[in-house]
Symmetry: C2
Amino acid sequence: MSALLLDLDGVLYVGDEPVAGAAEAVAWIRRRGIAHLFLTNTTSRPREALVDKLGRMGIAVAAEDILTPPVAAVQWLRSHAHGPVALFVPEATRAEFAGLDLLPAQAQSGAAAVVIGDLGEGWDFPTLNRAFRLLMADPRPPLVALGMTRYWRAPDGLRLDVGAFAHALSYAAGVDPVVLGKPAEPFFRVALDRLGVSAGETWMIGDDIRGDVQGAQRAGLRGALVRTGKFQPSDLNSGIRPDAVLDSIADLPRWWERVG
Amino acid sequence: MSALLLDLDGVLYVGDEPVAGAAEAVAWIRRRGIAHLFLTNTTSRPREALVDKLGRMGIAVAAEDILTPPVAAVQWLRSHAHGPVALFVPEATRAEFAGLDLLPAQAQSGAAAVVIGDLGEGWDFPTLNRAFRLLMADPRPPLVALGMTRYWRAPDGLRLDVGAFAHALSYAAGVDPVVLGKPAEPFFRVALDRLGVSAGETWMIGDDIRGDVQGAQRAGLRGALVRTGKFQPSDLNSGIRPDAVLDSIADLPRWWERVG
């Protein structure tokens, strides 16, 4: 085994508190020179904000070692889309796509790919319909979704997230979305490509039995569950069998010396 | 066999032209006293407009003999929803729901059912999110969809229809929609209830091998295909076996004397 993918939220920290031993474990991974990436489904802030947050908790992580859905999408698009990309993502996320050839904002055809994120209030009918028409063009461009999150909890109540709109477009246009976010296989695939490693030699470490462990296993990786974050004892009776269970990220160095 | 369900478009008329013999066949069904209903997925105009259109073609049909998704929804809601209904349908369709207890337009909870139709430009984020929040309330109200049409062809191009939004809400809220429109089973069920007949004694006559014939068969009815409207010879090699094939509705009287 030669590479590690690690979830952030629930593995390195819970809320605004670091998990005990997380800073030391991350420092050990870097010192030991193990190929690794931190995988998160967060699209609401750029990697720099995550680096800052981790830094305030004493955990040193470099921006280029974090894989978010937009970063993964850019990598996927560079190898799969040959032409201008239509972006339906919030302003803060657009910056991540700066290096790509982008379709003009009002174009009704000519997209080599249609990328959708958590556009929130930006999803009015004309906007969603424009994404739909782009998807119905000949040849059919792929629909790339920055995750499939159903909803999130805003201060004023629940709010629909990208997954709802991905489903709307997928059904109407008759295309399966390429999902760049856990637990979808293309997200893990991009991570492996980035590290230049194979699924069979890579572990995914996470606190989500489905999003992290099952997703990784379906992509051919091994999945280790930590007993922190959203972990619940009932996860171990869910029918999904983690390849390893760690009390927390603090146990990673000792565990890796055994399995790595 | 004692009852007939008939599609309108493609069976009685094609575009603005009546199918030869349609007026006579309909007059024969009425004269013969066969329990019958005309089933259409059209929600863009009320039944009176369909009656007028048929009348201009010399085909006499009564409004109460036409079952549209909104009419079926009202009947379904009367027996399944015990409390105020939240409507997300265009203005022209609202009239069909006049007799029901309706939830105030901005209420964020308290819906006994959430009904969605082809709201078109009315689907902005706050509106779709309001439907979502209503669906997430405890207890969970059913999501009632006036059909699952993917899109339609407007003069200026393709436009998303109710099915896209039903899928968005269904995925986000984790509820299966109750679909009132062919080929969904609840639509046929409402038609049977309205006539007071059982599926096993009822024929559905249509030009759509999937929407009419397969839908009816899945609901336990027999399905007859007419060779008019959208019929194509390849329909007969689609893997769906109609229980009968008629050259057109003009053949119905002679055919019924054999099978009815």
